[in-house]
Amino acid sequence: MSDDMKVVEDLTQSEYKWGFTSNVEADEAPKGLNEDIIRFISAKKNEPEWMLEWRLKAYKYWLTMEEPHWAKSKYPPIDYQATKYYSAPKKMPKLNSLQEADPELIKTFEKLGIPLEEQKHLAGVAVDTVFDSVSVSTTFKETLAEKGIIFCPISEAIEKHPDLFKKYLGSVVPPTDNYFAALNSAVFTDGSFAYIPKGVRCPMELSTYFRINAQNTGQFERTLLIADEGSYVSYLEGCTAPMRDENQLHAAVVELVILDNAEIKYSTVQNWFPGDKDGKGGIYNFVTKRAACRGRNSKVSWTQVETGSAITWKYPSCILQGDNSVGEFYSVAVTNNFQQADTGTKMIHLGKNTRSTIISKGISAGKSDNSYRGLVKVNKNADGARNFSQCDSMLMGDKCGAHTFPYIEIDNDTAIVEHEATTSKVGEDQIFYLNQRGISTEDAVNMIVNGFCKEVFNKLPMEFAVEAQKLLAVSLEGSVG
C-alpha cells in the first residue's frame, strides 16, 4: 500500500499543466453589476433595443432571487459586485486570416494546443474560439454557409439573424429559470450560435474553446443551437483556464432546440483551473444546460468529461417533449484535492415512447467531494417511457466523498425505470494482477480508471476522446491507492 500511496501522492501533487496568463490588453467594464453595466455591455455589443430590454428584465428578476445553496458544496459568499462583467481583448482588427491576429493571442492558442491553421486544413473542424468574451476567429464559415448552416458568435447572430435568434433565445432556459441563468441572461457577453437547416447533416464537428483570461472576469457565455427537422450536428466544447488565485465565477447557459427527426450530440471537456492542492483558487462553474427535444423522433446526447473547476454545479438536462424522442447523458466527473462537483442530469419525459439513458461515472480523490444529482421524471401522459440510469462512483483515499442523489418521480404506470448505483475503489487484486504482468502501479491505475470510464469515453468524438484520456491521467496522477 505504501508504494501505492506514494504514487498517489506524486500524482495528486502534479501541477495544473495549462496554467499561464497571456498579456492581452483588455477593454473592461468596471467591477460591479448594475443597470449601467448592462447598458454598457449592450452598447459595446451594438445590440438592438429589444436585447437590452431583455437583459434588463432578466437583471430585475435576478435581483429578486436568492442564490441557491442546496448543492453539496461549500464556498465563501460570492461578491457579485467585485466581479467584472465585461472584458474584451482590445486589439480587434477585422481579420481575413489568422496571421493578422494578435501574436500574443496566437501564442495562447498554441499553448492551449488549438492548432487553428492546422485544424482548418487537416482536422476539418470549424473552430469558433472565444477568448475571454469576444469571439476572435471563426473558420470554415464558408464551407458551412454552402450548406446553409449558420455558425457564428452569438453577438453576430443578434445582428444578422435577429428573427431566428429572438424566436429561440430563452425558450429552453428562460431568464427566470434559476439564479445563475438569470444572471447570465442579464450579462452574457458572448458564446456561439448555430442553426442547422432542414435535412442537413453538418459535415464537420462544430467546436469552440472557451478560455477565461483577464483576472477577476466572470465569463458568461450563452450557447444556442437549433437543429431543424431531420438535421444532425455534433458540437464540441472544451475549456482550459490559466492559474489564478482568486475564484472566478463562470455562469454559462446552453440551450439546444431539436425538432422532428433531428439530432444534436453535445460533447464537453472541461478542464478549468481546479484550485491548487491547498484548495486555493479555482473556477466556480455554475452552468445551466438544457436540451428541448421538441420534435418527434428527435434525439439529444450529452457527453461530458469534467475534470476541472473548484466547484461544479451543472446538470445538462433533456426535455423529451416529442413522441419517440431520446435523451442520453454520459458523464465522467473527476475531482481531486479540494474540488467539489455536484453534477448530473434531468430527464423529463413528456412525450410518448420517450427513452433516456444515464451513465455517470464519478471519481473522487484527495479531499474532494463528488456528487451525482439527477432527476428522472415521467409525466402522466408519457406512455411507454423507458429509462435506464447507472451511476458508479470510485473513491481513491479515505478523505474524499462520493454521493448520489437520484430523484425518480413516476406518474405513469407504463413507465419502466431502472436505476443502479455502485461505489467501489480500485481493487488491490486488480492492481496486483497488472503488477505481476509487469505494469507499474501508476499505469495500472490509469488503465483501471480508464476502463471504468470507457463507456463514456466511447461516446466522445475522436478528437476529444484522446484529450479526455490524457486529462484523466493528469487529473488523477498518483491519486490512486
Binding site: 462512483s393 462520493a402 448520489t404 430523484y407 413516476i410 405513469n412 431502472e418 448505483a421 461505489t423
Partner: protein, 445 residues
C-alpha cells in the same frame, strides 16, 4: 411553491392541550419523564409542521393531517372497548406473549417471561422503577419534526422491553396497538422502548390496527438499543383505518456484532409516514430493513430509511417493494451514510415498485453518501408494470386472467415475504396480500 403555512392556531391548540394534560397529571408533573415532555412541547412551539419545501417531506403533503384538531388520548380518560375488537385484531395464529395497547395505553397483557426480562407498560415502569428506563428513553429520538415532538409531548405510555444479557426469548412477543374512537378525533402517541442486553435475542410483532368511526392520528416513536451480539427482529404490521393517519419513527442503535432486522408491512391508513433509522456503531453489526407496501385508493405511503455506518466491517441490507393501485402514491427515500472510518462496509439497498393503475404514482430517491474508500455500496431502484411476456406465458398455460395477475403480484412480493421467520406470520401476510389483490381484480377486470 406556496408560502409556508404557519398553522398558528393548530399549534396553539396543541399547546392548550398540553396545559390540560399537565393539569391532569396532578403531581406527576415534576417527574423525569415530564421534563422530556416539557422540552418536547417547547420544541414543538419553535418549529413549523413539515412542509414540502423540506427536503425530507418533498413528496409528502401532510396538509390533510393538519385539517384536524386531534385530541391527545392522554388528555382523555381511558377508552372502553369491546373484547371482540381485540379478538378480531389480534394475530392469534402466532403463539406468543402479548400486550394490548388501546389509544396508547396498556389495556391488557398475557405474559410468561423468564427472569431477567422486564416487559410492559412504560408508565408503570416509570412509576415503579424509573431508573431502569431513564438512561434510554428519549436518548435516541430527537424532536426533529413536529410529529416526533408531539409524540414526546403527549406520550404517557408505550411498550417497554428490557432483556438482560444472555437471554434468548423463544416465543415472539405481540404488541397490539388499537387506536380509534367514535366520538373524538384522537391523537395516540405510543412511546416504545426496546433494550436488548448482550447476547440476547427477541422477536417482536407490532400490530397496528384501528377502530371507530372518527379519523385519528397515530404518531408513534420506538427506540431500540441492541447491545453487543444481540439479535432483535421487529415485525411492523400496519393496518390503520383507511381514513386515518400513521406517522411513525423508529430509531435503532446497534453495537458490536448485533443484528437488527426490521420488517415493515404497510396496508392501511390514508397518509403513512415511516421513518426507519439505524446507527451501526459497533463493528461487525448488521441491519436488515425489509418493507412491503400495498397502496390503494388515495393512500400516500412514505418510507424514509437512514442507515448510518460509523464503524468498519458492518453490513446493511434494504429491500422495499411497493404495489400501488388506484390513485395511491408511494414515496421511498433511502439514505445510506458511510462515515470516514467505516471501511469495509457493505451496504445494499433496493427499492422496487409496480404501478397497477395509470393514476398511481411513485417518487423514489435512493441516496448514498460515502466518505470511506474501501466499501461496497450499491443501490437500485426499478419501477414498472407487470411484465407482459410473463403474463402471456402464464395465460398461454390456460390460467385465467385474474389468477395470472395475482400470481405475478404475489411473486413480486415474495422476495420480502419469504424473509419472515415466523411461519404463521408469513402465512398471514400472504393471506393479506391475497385479500388486497382480490379487491384489485374487482376494480380492474
Amino acid at each position: 411553491m406556496n408560502k409556508i403555512p404557519e398553522n398558528t392556531e393548530l399549534k396553539k391548540w396543541y399547546s392548550d392541550q398540553f396545559d390540560s394534560f399537565e393539569n391532569k397529571l396532578n403531581g406527576g408533573a415534576d417527574t423525569y419523564f415530564h421534563q422530556i415532555r416539557k422540552k418536547a412541547i417547547s420544541r414543538f412551539g419553535e418549529i413549523d409542521f413539515p412542509h414540502q419545501k423540506n427536503e425530507d417531506w418533498k413528496y409528502t403533503n401532510i396538509s390533510p393531517v393538519l385539517k384536524y384538531n386531534f385530541k391527545p388520548a392522554s388528555v382523555l380518560s381511558e377508552t372502553k372497548i369491546e373484547d371482540s375488537l381485540i379478538e378480531n385484531a389480534f394475530i392469534s395464529e402466532v403463539e406468543c406473549c402479548s400486550f394490548v395497547f388501546v389509544n396508547g395505553r396498556l389495556h391488557s397483557s398475557k405474559t410468561n417471561f423468564p427472569e431477567g426480562v422486564t416487559a410492559g407498560s412504560l408508565s408503570e415502569i416509570m412509576k415503579k422503577n424509573p431508573e431502569l428506563v431513564k438512561q434510554h428513553i428519549a436518548s435516541l429520538s430527537e424532536n426533529d419534526n413536529s410529529f416526533s415532538a408531539l409524540n414526546a409531548a403527549f406520550s404517557e405510555d408505550g411498550f417497554v422491553l428490557l432483556i438482560d444479557k444472555n437471554i434468548q426469548l423463544e416465543k415472539p412477543i405481540q404488541v397490539l396497538f388499537l387506536t380509534g374512537s367514535d366520538t373524538e378525533n384522537l391523537l395516540a402517541a405510543p412511546r416504545n422502548l426496546i433494550v436488548a442486553g448482550k447476547n440476547s435475542s427477541a422477536e417482536i410483532i407490532f400490530n397496528y390496527r384501528g377502530f371507530g368511526s372518527k379519523v385519528y392520528l397515530n404518531s408513534s416513536v420506538t427506540e431500540v438499543f441492541a447491545d453487543d451480539a444481540s439479535n432483535i427482529t421487529l415485525y411492523n404490521l400496519q393496518e390503520e383505518n383507511d381514513d386515518s393517519f400513521h406517522i411513525e419513527k423508529l430509531q435503532a442503535h446497534q453495537t458490536a456484532s448485533s443484528n437488527f432486522t426490521h420488517f415493515s408491512f404497510t396496508l392501511g391508513g390514508k397518509i403513512i409516514r415511516n421513518d426507519i433509522n439505524t446507527k451501526l456503531s459497533g463493528e461487525n453489526s448488521a441491519s436488515h430493513l425489509w418493507g412491503l407496501y400495498l397502496g390503494k385508493n388515495e393512500q400516500l405511503i412514505d418510507h424514509h430509511t437512514f442507515i448510518d455506518h460509523s464503524v468498519p466491517h458492518c453490513e446493511s441490507n434494504e429491500l422495499f417493494k411497493g404495489i400501488l393501485d388506484d390513485n395511491s402514491r408511494g414515496v421511498f427515500n433511502g439514505k445510506i451514510l458511510v462515515q470516514k472510518d467505516a471501511q469495509k462496509t457493505n451496504a445494499f439497498q433496493s427499492n422496487k415498485a409496480v404501478l397497477l393503475n395509470k393514476n398511481a404514482k411513485i417518487d423514489t430517491k435512493p441516496q448514498l453518501e460515502i466518505y470511506a474508500d474501501d466499501v461496497k455500496c450499491t443501490h437500485g431502484a426499478a419501477i414498472g408494470r407487470l411484465d407482459d411476456t410473463a403474463y402471456f406465458y402464464i395465460r398461454s398455460r390456460g390460467i385465467p386472467a385474474d389468477v395470472a395477475k395475482s400470481m405475478q403480484i404475489r411473486a413480486f412480493a415474495t422476495d420480502v415475504v419469504e424473509k419472515i421467520e415466523i411461519d404463521e406470520l408469513k402465512e398471514i401476510i400472504n393471506h393479506k396480500i391475497f385479500e388486497h389483490l382480490r379487491r384489485v381484480e374487482v376494480v380492474n377486470e
